[in-house]
């Protein structure tokens, strides 16, 4: 953003106007999140494919510059600030030409803002391919003349008209039109009447046939088929995590083993070799194995969102979620929380009611996030056989994973139900208005990139913590007796001191140490445990951690208790920090941390005794 010769162009538009697809077409897949000072909103930046000195900035989709939700306000403020502080040189407002009136209401607000801040302005009327398909037409030239700004009929889908965008931008004027009153601040009816008039005069005539959408909606929102398909889709999501990711996971594991056998003979015998074997390959390797699952999970959730299904899922969930004090809009933040609580907390800004948003914050940390996945996978792999039932249709491990995920979700709902009922203030209703995007085939390029970015972020960010923790754990576990006996090491002595805490659910001190280290981040559990088992079994061949746990004779009840503990406890420093930033105080994160820790501990003891009683 610092290069003065670079021309910076903002893309702004309503949700579902095709703005992000246009951004992808203009920049290719070479983008990154823009580093905007002082804001916590996702603005992607990408260099133009056509001209290296042009940079496009993709602002989050908003319906209006008059924000009504927290998320909109952050996005609108970022845009206004970019105008004010000359962070952008010109503005492209993307409107859906099939819904011109709605697009123009927003475009007129942006036009007025560009007029005030002296910025060249262009309207990109997207989706003209749909108009052509329906033999409809709109008068772009007439509209351009009326507004005295360029109006470019384009299609981000087919790339039609994109070639004239750079030229039009270079020549684009600062909007000269001045309305009788300040539109952003004025009564909505003036702006609206103007947009309606323009759309009637220049816009496409007639209704689009959205029969296919309605037909699909009547299936996906049907009281039986809708509910059934919802459960099938969610179930497939979890099976996919196992079946699609497992060959890659096996590949990663094999690569780590191969690397270990190739590297270890090169390292001098003794401490250095022990360190490389236990801390590097044992600790970090154990965590890297789970990256493919995070990739698949992000990919599948992104696919559901891109296809338009997530909005339908929000409609399906609205009534049931209302029973628990939430709204259908809480569904998307909660589902994002299945990937990671942090984007979930950010996504909760779309919940316009502050009270519902607060309740959504309570639910998100209980959603089964991907950092829990390594722990769940490890415990499930150690206790549940990798067999299939019902003629190969259902895998027991997938079923167990589905079960523990469901458990987390049920906990989240019970907590919000209890809290919303114990405080009558929290139960008041607020409107639910949600646009239903058209169904479409997901665009794989951006989805794959997003999943890749998430994995990279996960590896680099969590990787650092895990590296430090595994090194510390290794040092404490290796000394003072050079790894001769883990039990007599410093770590062993410390561990035995805390052993009574976790003894009520049948875990020995090694698990206790791993649990304590996981309060930094859950996935550290796997690395820590991997390092400790590595020190213990120093000279043996590399066998999987799950197998080592299996052979260590851990009772089934303790495995179940571990699952329950990890499902509830809020062991994530990053989530606490983000909650603090979003709510503006440490009050909520502190309350959640303490209460979920106590709840997790109690539930784990209960689970241990239940399983041991019945097993």
């Amino acid at each position: 953003m610092s290069d003065p010769s670079e021309s910076k162009i903002a893309l702004i538009g309503s949700p579902n106007s095709g703005k992000s697809l246009l951004f992808n077409r203009l920049t290719g897949l070479n983008q990154k999140v823009a580093n905007f000072p002082g804001i916590t909103v996702d603005i992607s930046a990408g260099q133009s494919l056509a001209n290296k000195s042009v940079k496009y900035l993709d602002f989050p989709g908003v319906y209006s510059l008059q924000a009504i939700s927290g998320e909109e306000k952050v996005a609108v403020d970022a845009f206004i600030r970019a105008l004010e502080e000359d962070l952008i040189d010109s503005v492209v407002c993307v409107v859906d030409s099939t819904r011109l009136e709605k697009g123009l209401i927003f475009a007129l607000q942006v036009l007025e803002a560009c007029h005030s801040y002296n910025k060249p302005f262009v309207i990109a009327a997207n989706m003209v391919d749909v108009l052509t398909q329906h033999r409809m037409h709109f008068d772009a030239e007439g509209l351009a003349e009326a507004l005295k700004v360029p109006v470019l009929p384009i299609s981000a889908k087919t790339s039609a008209g994109l070639e004239i965008l750079p030229e039009a931008l270079a020549k684009a004027p600062v909007p000269s039109q001045k309305f009788e009153s300040d539109i952003i601040a004025s009564d909505e009816s003036i702006n609206h009447l103007h947009a309606q008039q323009l759309a009637e005069q220049f816009g496409p005539k007639g209704d689009l046939l959205i029969n296919t959408q309605t037909r699909l909606d009547s299936f996906f929102l049907h009281s039986w088929f809708g509910g059934l398909s919802f459960f099938v889709i969610m179930y497939l999501l979890f099976q996919a995590i196992f079946t699609w990711a497992s060959p890659v996971m096996d590949g990663v594991e094999a690569t780590i083993q191969w690397l270990a056998t190739a590297v270890l003979p090169l390292v001098p015998e003794g401490m250095a070799s022990d360190f490389v074997a236990d801390a590097l390959f044992g600790g970090i390797g154990a965590f890297l194995v789970f990256v493919p699952q995070i990739f698949v999970l992000t990919l599948v959730v992104g696919m559901l969102e891109d296809s338009g299904y997530l909005a339908r899922a929000a409609v399906i969930c609205h009534k049931p979620l209302r029973l628990f004090g939430l709204t259908g809009k809480s569904f998307i933040p909660m589902l994002s929380g299945v990937a990671c609580a942090i984007p979930g907390v950010y996504a909760a800004r779309t919940v316009d009611s502050p009270r519902k948003r607060w309740l959504t914050y309570l639910a998100i940390p209980l959603m089964p996030c991907s950092a829990r996945l390594p722990v769940y996978t490890l415990i499930i792999a150690a206790f549940i056989p990798a067999q299939k039932a019902l003629g190969g249709l259902v895998g027991w491990q997938g079923l167990a994973m589905f079960g523990i995920y469901l458990f987390g979700i049920i906990c989240a709902l019970l907590v919000t139900a209890v809290v919303s009922r114990s405080n009558a203030e929290l139960r008041s209703d607020l409107p639910f208005v949600l646009e239903m995007p058209p169904y479409r085939v997901p665009s794989w390029g951006p989805l794959l990139r997003n999943a890749w970015d998430r994995c990279q972020h996960f590896v680099t960010k969590a990787g650092k913590v895990i590296f430090v923790v595994t090194v510390v754990i290794w040092l404490l576990g290796y000394f003072p007796n050079q790894g001769a006996s883990l039990g007599d090491s410093w770590l062993g002595r410390m561990g035995q001191w805390i052993e009574p805490i976790f003894a009520p659910f049948g875990l020995d001190w090694r698990y206790g140490v791993a649990i304590l280290s996981s309060f930094l981040a859950r996935e550290v559990f796997v690395g820590t445990l991997g390092t400790m088992f590595g020190i213990e079994g120093a000279e043996e061949n590399f066998i999987s951690l799950a197998q080592q746990i299996q052979e260590s004779g851990l009772p089934l009840g303790s495995g179940a208790a571990l699952l329950v503990f990890f499902a509830i406890a809020l062991q994530c420093v990053s989530t606490l920090a983000v909650l603090q930033r979003e709510t503006g105080s440490w009050r909520l994160p502190a309350q959640l941390f303490v209460s979920y820790s106590i709840l997790a501990y109690g539930a784990a003891i209960l689970m241990f005794h239940l399983v041991e009683f019945f097993a």
Binding site: Y63, S64, Q66, I68, T98, R99, E101, K102, I105, F106, E188, S189, H192, D207, L208, I210, Q213, T214, D217, S218, L221, H222, S223, G226, A311, A314, V315, I316, H318, K319, G328, D429, L430, P431, F432, V433, L434, E435, M436
Partner: protein, 74 residues
Amino acid sequence: MTLWDLRQGSSAKVSSFKASIESSYRTRLTELGFHPGEQIACVLSPSLGAPKLYQVNNTVYSLDDSIASLIEVA
């Protein structure tokens, strides 16, 4: 009659907003196309009281009873 009472497959024109509606929501609904004089069709009315789907200006929105019952139609 309110928008919530509109049966699946039928359409009506918005006549007014009820007085109890918050002004920020009235503004947003107007921006989305729900304004007096506009023709709205109820395209889908799922059972069990789930939010209904309304088509306005080639866009489909889902509204729940708490907001759809504040929009008067005729």
